[in-house]
Symmetry: C2
């Protein structure tokens, strides 16, 4: 098989997505599994590991107006999100403050310490992501990331059941 050159020339795309039906998912699963394994190592020490990182990162970079929006973005159930946030609050990385617009809701904001910690772990996460893609020919990693983003967007767009995030994703909410 042409393992070395990512056989861009032999493509028939729509007719032959992969060697066998289901292979696409097999590869996706393998890549995600490997990614998560490295991710776990990179965020070791952070409460709730990967999930903790994702919550903290979303809070800092996206400022979701409430827990529901946060959970929807990460595809995390609200009941799960509660104890994730509990752990981050206990570690003094984030705080629950009353949402300005709705007294039922809480807005999650990072503490200064939380922002510092996030920065530290982001360096490590960015490092392993780069390392992971580095085994690819330089142009390929950019192409891959780009296509993946496109695919992810299309998928979320066309399947409501898979799509608890709707149109709000990858928008930065107002502060």
């Amino acid at each position: 098989m042409t393992t070395s050159d990512t056989n861009r020339t032999t493509t028939q795309a729509a007719t032959a997505p992969a060697a066998l039906p289901g292979d696409l998912g097999w590869h996706l699963g393998m890549v995600l599994r490997g990614y998560q394994s490295k991710f776990e190592d990179a965020v070791e020490g952070l409460p709730e590991g990967i999930r903790g990182f994702q919550v903290l990162s979303s809070v800092v970079h996206l400022s979701p107006p409430n827990q529901q929006a946060l959970g929807a973005h990460l595809a995390i159930d609200r009941t799960v999100l509660t104890y994730l946030i509990d752990a981050l609050v206990e570690a003094e990385l984030v705080e629950r403050i009353p949402a300005p617009t709705d007294r039922r809701a809480r807005k999650i904001v990072a503490t200064t310490h939380g922002r510092d910690v996030l920065k530290k772990y982001e360096t490590r996460v960015a490092a392993f992501e780069s390392e992971m893609l580095f085994c690819l020919p330089a142009e390929d990693s950019a192409v891959f990331v780009s296509i993946l983003g496109r695919l992810s967007m299309d998928i979320r767009g066309d399947d409501p059941s898979t799509n608890p995030c709707a149109a709000m994703d990858h928008l930065r909410w107002e502060r």
Copy 2:
């Protein structure tokens, strides 16, 4: 639309794998989630759903010499594999026959009915895979599949913990 060209021009791969650290995994997760959702629909009616399909497909196309090899290929624990196979046996899609080389082991072989059923579902799986990639520019889907395969291989290669399959994967075992 800013969504169509996910900044392909601004990418410097190793330095900026994605907009934010962790984004790569977020997109991977979304794509896999969407993929699995469609997969589930496609194999509806097959015992054990996706897992059942994967086992049946591996048995037919790869002829693993025993359950351990089969489980390793699919990254399924042997204790889980037991009941997956139980279900397929009960549906008369596969049989457990004594492995010729080792009386401890069982070789899983598909019945004629099993092969027919697999063919039917493979059509459906191939269809949704194509459909999923079809929303991409034609060249992109081939590139994506190709890079994904490459990535998956590299990842399995360099991390033993993620890699219960070792070198045997995507080889066809002897019959």
